[in-house]
Amino acid sequence: MTRRARLWLLLAGGAGLAVLFAAACLKLPAFGGDRHPYGDRAVRASLARHTANTVSSVNFDQRAFDTLGEMTILFAAVLGCVVLLRQTRDEHRAAPEPAEVALPVRRYALIVLPVALVSGLYVVAHGQLSPGGGFQGGVVAATALHLLYLGADYRALERVRPVGRYEVGDALAASAYLVTGLAGLIGSAAFLANTILPYGTFNTLSSGGTVPLLNAAIGMEVACAVVVLLARFLDQAVEIEGEGGS
């Protein structure tokens, strides 16, 4: 196909997409309207199960199976990264050099690291009450660990980060989600049904049945996955060198 024909094909496809988008937009409900058929049902269901944050109820109760799919996508993506960014035969590892970081920056990193870790856990634990949940809190906690690389050097990070254990943790958390889902089969006949635990008092940490458990599993899975992912990137950027490299 010539360049000109390709351009015409692109323009035709783009025009078709634009027409379809315009037609779809014209049929949408008005912006900020007060009719939300799906929203009303979701809120009713989440209140019936004593889950204050409706989004969490949708993610980890009403549509928990979708979240299982999303978790699997993250798991597979990290697995792919681990395979792609492995050390190949013509590469070798050079020890990272210690870094001199200005004292205020180093102090800041050491003070903020525990604060960020606790905040990550707080976001995970309050997933069923306020905005947040396993994914957000897991990313915050995993990012917090890397303050050791930013505020000190890579060797300091490697000391507190045995990658193998995080890989195991990733797999364990993913299976914890599955096991919680299978436990739903005991109380009722549905996978991931929120029936095995009492719903608790509305707007307390232990409310929502299995929602906090699934949140915790996702939090651990995401935190471990991010740590493993960043470990591969850091290895490539800092340690692994090609044949005869600097």
Binding site: P131, G132, A142
Partner: protein, 86 residues
């Protein structure tokens, strides 16, 4: 009038996303992307989707820049090694 903040957030997102596309240097693009992440989080908040906003902040403010900058560093080092080998 209460929609003014939504309009402001939408305009900021459109402007920063355009800047992110037209910036060619990956380092500068990463800087623009970090700002775009913050602006997107503001948009999600004013549209009453704080859960999504929180995800955006968690991923966009430190994790994405770190992944991008580590990749840039690796590619640059590889380029230097190749240049010396020739």
């Amino acid at each position: 009038m209460a929609d003014a903040v939504i309009v402001v957030a939408l305009l900021l997102v459109a402007a920063s996303a355009t800047v992110a596309v037209v910036t060619r240097d990956p380092v500068r693009q990463a800087l623009v992307l970090a700002v775009l992440g913050v602006v997107l989080a503001v948009l999600f908040t004013v549209l009453q989707a704080p859960d999504v906003g929180l995800s955006q902040l968690a991923v966009g403010s430190a994790l994405t820049p770190l992944l991008l900058m580590l990749t840039v560093r690796k590619v640059r080092r590889r380029g230097q090694e190749k240049g010396r080998g020739r």
